[in-house]
Symmetry: C2
Subunit: 354 residues, 2 copies
Amino acid sequence: MCRVRFRKDSGNSMRQQETKNFTIKDIARLSGVGISTVSRVVNGHPYVKEETKKRVLTVMEEYHYTPNANAKNLKQISANAISVVVRGTNNAFFASILEKMERAIEAGGFQCRVTYLDERSDEIDAARRVCNEKKVQGVIFLGGSGVGREKELEAIPVPCVFSTESAAAANLEHVSSITVDDRAAAKQAVDYLFEMGHRDIAVLGGVREALNNIGLRYQGVLDSFREHGMTLPEERYFTCLFSMEEGYNAISRVLGTGERFTAVFAMSDVMAIGAAKAITDTGLSIPDDISIIGYDGIDLVRYYNPTLATVRQPAEEIAEKSVALLLEAIENDSPARHMTLGGELIAGASVKRI
Amino acid sequence: MCRVRFRKDSGNSMRQQETKNFTIKDIARLSGVGISTVSRVVNGHPYVKEETKKRVLTVMEEYHYTPNANAKNLKQISANAISVVVRGTNNAFFASILEKMERAIEAGGFQCRVTYLDERSDEIDAARRVCNEKKVQGVIFLGGSGVGREKELEAIPVPCVFSTESAAAANLEHVSSITVDDRAAAKQAVDYLFEMGHRDIAVLGGVREALNNIGLRYQGVLDSFREHGMTLPEERYFTCLFSMEEGYNAISRVLGTGERFTAVFAMSDVMAIGAAKAITDTGLSIPDDISIIGYDGIDLVRYYNPTLATVRQPAEEIAEKSVALLLEAIENDSPARHMTLGGELIAGASVKRI
DNA sequence: GTGAAAGCGCTAACAC
DNA sequence: GTGTTAGCGCTTTCAC
């Protein structure tokens, strides 16, 4: 492309020059030093005469030199960096954790490299690739799961931390994890609805599998029902994906049939928001006709109308502990640990005592 | 790290092997062919005997070989890829455009490489780096601005498209842009408020600069006021950043002083949501006491209570046109173009006729 | 059809 | 303090 572009005004050699990608060799030649000296300056290594350094920096500036990261990574043994592999873009809950992780990683003296993956991609595969291409010293999986992937995890040569999913079952000496006690937290949410006098409670959640967060939250729901001498009828569990749209559709559909309940526990705040809108669109009121409580504690619940009750997962604590666990493993070669944090019930105007 | 880990059970050579990063050389040796043959198989080049190909693939499979992207990029001249540089993570409006861009780019036969940048980073610098490291054939800037950066843009050797910010002023033959007519769209929003009988209108927006989107939206606001024989008092313009929190704080503060108006135009939906919550938290009703209309048309406005009126920027059209412009420039070497799309007024329960 | 060999731009010994 | 040089893992001529 550029070729053609330049052919149009080939008399202009200035532009030709501006487009050239300067290499370390060019900079060395232009500043009259060897390439290793340039490399030393670029990487802030010691033992370069102040004067030489200045000259090299000037040339670098003048020609807009940027080192080629491919070449750097190809050669470099280790880069003092930590990689965070995030599963699922556009997830408000993860976004808030990620932000805090970045800060903690940098505070710990490491660079932070974030890899965003969509749902279709394999996070462990991506991590393996990052490890040997970017030479990172540790990996944090945000929203990924290591369950049943022991074999692949073995192939990752640096300490790992699974954030928000337990990896205790993998039982690997380089894989830690940090989770919220989903079962207890979900129980708290439903307990709260019972306390507020609700008896006819619906649950909006994802596909229940024994070992994932959803399965655990479901267990917590059952625990609460059991403790209150009740059982959750299967027709009161609505399955949907983690989006407002899906939550809306699921609850719209059931309310459309004339079915009624006095409260909903949604296993994520975005589902809860969809559900809330479905309720008001049906002409019902929150919380007068139906109460609703979510899960996660994303910022948005505070700004919704009415303010949504939720069980907050402690984002900053998750972030800090994840990074702390990883740094310990990297720096002190500490053994893997699996920590569990508690959720926090946040009351909101969306739940009414009946 | 891994060293230490392995020393713990150095008798286990299996794990040692699993952690090794296989290179193209290893695969060549293990399958008894030359490295160029492996390279051909990996890249799907023709002229490899079916049998040889099969053998190589088997070995690759067996040893979980993944090519090193650094080495690949270092050597490769061009990669049939397009880079999208997104400024500002966690922006729902951009996220929806990005998703559609990815699809369009892949449909056009190119790979899509997304680079996420925070507000502090320089998007043009990042693009330049991506160009010579990843060998992309074109760049789309989502949310970046090329204004006043002609010099740096010249250094990018491939066609570019600025999405959502005009780059007409740069007047470069390889830089196109696609924008919404912010001025007209903002005018629509305020016109609508006037039509609904509002006279005391507040505006919540960002820092006004002559050439950016905010400045244009502000001009549109002034246009509408002028057309309705009025002027916007300076004390009715509230400046805040693009977040719910900022919108909330700004409107809370002013309502707290007892100041009142009958309608608010917020220059983004997230600001509008913050403002909406500030209004209801003050004990006022939307739309009975104060009407509100936002800007952007993110999904969330449909799920808010009450449904927020907004001016929708046509995300899919922006995405499609951006990609189309770029593909044309890449494939047919078409000259730069600057397109302007229209916004669409979306009525909502948040605006009341008075 | 397939292999040998020359680099891509850089880092890190090692020599001076 | 600074320069020379050997690769990192790959693609890509160019021979055969």
